[in-house]
Symmetry: C2
Subunit: 221 residues, 2 copies
DNA sequence: GCCCCGCATTGATCTGGATCAAAACCGCGC
DNA sequence: GCGCGGTTTTGATCCAGATCAATGCGGGGC
């Protein structure tokens, strides 16, 4: 497994021989941009560990309203929050590569490796903390605060993956950002424009440069 | 430990001797209505298992805006989503009794009892699923849908605790409901009035009677 | 019983963000 | 380079829910 995210991912807790066990179970899969990894409600035969690319994770209402519950970056694990069926859909934003594990084999391994379970539990509680932060954002923040928090959070996430920079890549569309922040595409666009006019950010191709981190951190509180 | 929530709680996974170990660690604590269990950012010396009453779990912004991230009912475990400090505050809505465990003793026990860890992990992933559901609600649903979903969810939760009934107790204030649903108290009140006029619900002291479950389930989708 | 006092309801008005509607941009294929 | 389809930006208007402002109501203390 030529895994470039080993140190930040679930696998970081494992010994060499445990990794070999895991290797035997994993099959690396490539999903081209826009392809579906899995769909909400579908029986969860596999779980995934993203190794490259970005995926959007979302829930749909019957009338088509969409809420993106998260963006999965390299190192993220998909399959924590499901019993038999996936609780959300996932699709590739750019080209995504992922380690897929059959759920039964993965469950069996987790049973007998408490290290791995502890690591997964850490991931789950971290996700839960982020989800609660997102509830605050969705329920109580203004459009400008939402976008500011989002940009800072994305910078932070890329930084943890070894790409610390004030230039933040944004591979997702404006519509995706809107559906993540509980806004419309027009409001997201207008808010980007406003932050750019304020010289808080500079809009660059496929991303944004953060020009006034102090001010942004203050808005995000 | 005269624990009335044993079957639905974390403890359900334990054997008799493990329960005795846990008993030795627990001290039952009573919090009168409005008292604080713990505060966001405070070092987390204890974790809690609610045995009676209802607590509100919330985050505050520096300017006072509040988001309630959940209501803790009997059987709920508080202390999943924190590293060293609590990620949210909790206070008693009515009289709350809880089993408190010192965090260090609890961590040590979890280390050596994979049963308990697996159970905690189940709780965490369940919480995560609920949190994602709440994101959908906060980001994409209308006021009427929000309240309808909330009332159905509360009914479900009381039912799982052995109180199945179309009369749903609501010990929390209108302001609490507003801060949970990302609305104002006025909108919550108006929406209650509208649902009552539609004969979807009947407002009773400290709660609500659900008069048209089919219609509510349809709105909640 | 009656007076508070904190909560809830109702009413009137305002507004942030949604909706509707063009334009502008930006690859990409030919 | 040019045309074309999808995305983004900008503009004009609208409206769900917020805000501001009384009024109502219920339970506890005396």
């Amino acid at each position: 497994m030529a895994c470039t995210v080993r140190l930040v991912s679930v696998c970081a807790s494992l010994s060499v021989d445990e990794l070999q066990l895991l290797d035997a179970l994993a099959h690396e899969t490539v999903f081209p941009a826009k392809e579906t990894l899995f769909t909400q409600g579908q029986p969860a035969h596999s779980v995934y560990n993203i190794t490259a690319g970005v995926a959007r994770l979302y829930k749909l209402l019957p009338d088509g309203r969409r809420q993106i519950v998260g963006f999965a970056l390299p190192g993220d694990f998909l399959g924590l929050a499901m019993r038999d069926a996936f609780g959300f859909s996932a699709d590739a934003i750019d080209t995504v590569t992922a380690c897929a594990f059959s759920r039964s084999a993965y469950s069996a391994l987790v049973e007998e490796k408490p290290h791995l379970l502890r690591r997964l539990h850490q991931f789950a509680t971290h996700e839960l903390t982020l989800a609660q932060e997102q509830m605050m954002l969705l329920g109580r923040r203004t459009a400008e605060e939402k976008l500011t928090c989002f940009l800072l959070a994305m910078q932070e996430r890329w930084a943890k993956l070894g790409k610390p920079s004030v230039t933040v890549p944004l591979p997702m569309s404006r519509q995706d950002i809107a559906d993540f922040l509980g806004l419309t595409i027009e409001t997201v666009s207008r808010t980007f424009t406003k932050l750019a006019k304020d010289k808080t950010i500079l809009i660059v191709p496929d991303g944004v440069r953060l020009m006034n981190l102090d001010h942004m951190a203050h808005v995000a509180a």
